[in-house]
C-alpha cells in the first residue's frame, strides 16, 4: 500500500491490482481502491487519468473488432483455404467405399492401400464438419468448483454434481448452453447474440451480465439470482410461442427468482446477501450527518438497486449520522432499524420498513 504514494501514471496502469479494479471492479477491488484514495488524496488526479487511459485503450482496441458476420465469413474462407491442398472433396463426401469404387475403375491396387490409410484421417475431418450440432459436454464430478470458458469467452463456474453442454461453435443468432446442476455465469457482452441458459424447463436470457442458475435434475424448483446487469427468465415451454419472454420476469441486480415447475409460478425475492451496485467512488459520496432517515433510505435504494417502502412523514423526525460502506444491504438495514427502533420485512423483492416514528 505504501508504494502507491509515489506511483506515477505508468506505475498505476502497469499494476495488476489497478487494472483488475478498472477493468473488472469487484466489490473487493472497490473497497481496496476507495481506501487507497482516502489515504493518498494527492493521487486522485493521477488515478483518474490512469483509469481513463486504461478504459480508453480498451475502447480503442475493441472499436477495431470485426463484426460477428465478418468473423463467420472469415472462418469459412479459412476452411476453404485450408482444404485447398488436401484430399479432393469427392473422397471426403463419399467416404472410403466410393474411393474404393473409383480406384477399382482406375485399377491401381497400390493406390487403394494408400487410400485406405488416408481415409481414416479424412473421416475424422468429415465427422467434425458434418456434425456442427454436436454438443460439447463438461461434467463436474469433483467436490470443488470448476470453471469453463465458452466459445465466446464467457465463463461458467460449475458447482459439484453439475453438467454443462454447449455447441462447439455458438450459433449465428444466439449462444445457447444446457445446464443440469448449479453454475455461475459471467457472460461477455454481445447485443447481437443473446446468451441463453436452458435449465430444467426454464430459460434465462441475457445480453451480457453475471448471474447464478440452480437447477439440479429432479429438483422441483429452479433458482436464478442476478449479480450484475439485467436478466430475462421465462419457461422454455411457454404458451406464448411467438415471444415466450412475455410469460416470464425480468430480474435486476440483487434479485432472484424461484420457479416452481409444478405450477409454473415465479416467486421473486432479494438474494441472501445483496451487494452494492454503485462504484466505490459513488458510495463514498453517500454519507450523512444528523440527516433524516428518508434521505438515507433513498440513498440505500440507489446503492443496492432495491425498492424500499416506508412512511416518509412518519420517519422524517428520525435523524442519523452514518455512511454507506460495503456491508450487505441487510446488515445496513439492521443497523439503521436498531438505531431508530424500527423493523423491516421482505415482501417479493421489496423492503418494507415498520416504525412508530422517532418522538
Amino acid at each position: 500500500m505504501d508504494s502507491y504514494q509515489d506511483f506515477r501514471l505508468d506505475d498505476f496502469i502497469s499494476d495488476p491490482a489497478f487494472r483488475h479494479w478498472v477493468l473488472e471492479g469487484t466489490p473487493d477491488d472497490n473497497a481496496h481502491w476507495a481506501a487507497v484514495l482516502r489515504q493518498y488524496p494527492h493521487q486522485q488526479a493521477t488515478i483518474r487519468q490512469a483509469r481513463e487511459f486504461l478504459l480508453t485503450v480498451h475502447e480503442r482496441v475493441e472499436a477495431d473488432f470485426p463484426s460477428e458476420q465478418r468473423v463467420r465469413e472469415l472462418y469459412q474462407r479459412i476452411q476453404e483455404a485450408a482444404q485447398a491442398t488436401s484430399v479432393r472433396p469427392l473422397w471426403q463426401r463419399a467416404g472410403w467405399q466410393a474411393a474404393a469404387a473409383v480406384l477399382l475403375l482406375l485399377g491401381s491396387g497400390l493406390w487403394w492401400y494408400a487410400q485406405l490409410n488416408r481415409s481414416s484421417t479424412a473421416g475424422q475431418t468429415v465427422a467434425a464438419r458434418t456434425e456442427p450440432d454436436r454438443l460439447e459436454e463438461v461434467i463436474n464430478n469433483t467436490s470443488s468448483i470448476r470453471t469453463v470458458t465458452l466459445p465466446d469467452g464467457s465463463r461458467a463456474t460449475l458447482e459439484p454434481r453439475t453438467r454443462l453442454q454447449y455447441r462447439r461453435a455458438f450459433a449465428d443468432t444466439s449462444r445457447e448452453v444446457f445446464l443440469a446442476g448449479e453454475a455461475f455465469f459471467d457472460v461477455q457482452k454481445n447485443p447481437s447474440k443473446p446468451f441463453l441458459v436452458r435449465a430444467n424447463e426454464l430459460t434465462t436470457k441475457v445480453l451480457g451480465t453475471s448471474f447464478r442458475v440452480r437447477a439440479y435434475e429432479g429438483d422441483r424448483q429452479v433458482t436464478v439470482a442476478v449479480k450484475t446487469g439485467r436478466v430475462s427468465v421465462f419457461p422454455t415451454q411457454s404458451r406464448r410461442q411467438r415471444d415466450p419472454e412475455t410469460d416470464g420476469v425480468i430480474l435486476t441486480p440483487n434479485q432472484q427468482v424461484v420457479f416452481g415447475k409444478a405450477d409454473a409460478h415465479f416467486t421473486r425475492s432479494l438474494v441472501e446477501k445483496p451487494v452494492p451496485v454503485l462504484s466505490s467512488a459513488e458510495l463514498q459520496r453517500l454519507s450523512f450527518t444528523n440527516a433524516p432517515l428518508p434521505g438515507i433510505l433513498q440513498a440505500l435504494e440507489k446503492a443496492y438497486g432495491v425498492e424500499i417502502i416506508y412512511d416518509e412523514t412518519l420517519l422524517a423526525d428520525c435523524r442519523l449520522t452514518t455512511s454507506l460502506g460495503n456491508e450487505t444491504l441487510f446488515e445496513k438495514l439492521d443497523i439503521l432499524c436498531e438505531a431508530v427502533g424500527a423493523s423491516y420485512k421482505l415482501v417479493d423483492a421489496q423492503v418494507i420498513i415498520d416504525s412508530k416514528g422517532c418522538n
Binding site: 487511459f53 468473423v71 472462418y75 475431418t125 462447439r168
Partner: protein, 202 residues
Amino acid sequence: MKAQAAQEHEDRHYWNRFRQGDESAFAWLYQRYVRVLYSYGLKIIRNADAVEDAIQDMFADLWRTRTQLAEAQSVRFYLFRSLRRRIHRSLQPDHSLTEPINDEYVTEPPDFATAETDIISAEIAALQTAQLRQWLTHLPARQLEALMLRYYQDFSYAEIAAIMNISEQGARNVVQKSLHTLRRFALTLALLTVGWLLKSFF
C-alpha cells in the same frame, strides 16, 4: 497474473488438440483470438482487407501444417508475432498496398488553439476523455501498437520485443515515448483548463 497463466494453460490444451487434428479445438482458438488479432492488425496498418487476408492465410497455414507444429509455450504470443510478420512481409515492394506503415505522426498533432474554444462549451471531465481518445488516434502507428501489446494484451517487454522484432530496451522506449506524449498532452490540457477557468472569472 494468475488469470493469465490459467488462460495460457488452457490455450496450450486446445493447441495440442488442434495439432492432433481436432477441428473444434482449432475453431475454439480462432474464436478466442480472431477479434484481438484483427484489432492488432489494424494498429499496424489501417487496411481491413490486408489484415483479413493476413489472418486468413495465417490460420489456413496453421491448419495445413498442424502436424509439423511444436508445442507452444504461449499460443497468444505465437499468434501475435506470426501475424505481425505476415503483415510486414506482405508489404514488400512487390505488393500493391497504398497505406505504408508510418513511423512518423500519422496526422498532425491536434491544434491546441481550436481545443481551447472546445473547452468553453464542454464539461471538463468529458472533454478529457474525448481528447484522450483523439490523442490515441494521433499517436504514430508503432507507438499505438506497442501500447496495445503492453496495456491491452499485457505482454511482457521481452515478448513485445520479440513480436515487434526489436530489442527489449527498444520495446521499453517505444512504450515510454507514447506515455510521455500522452502525459504532455494531459499537462497541456490541464494548463488550458486553468487558463479557461481564469478567463471565465474575468
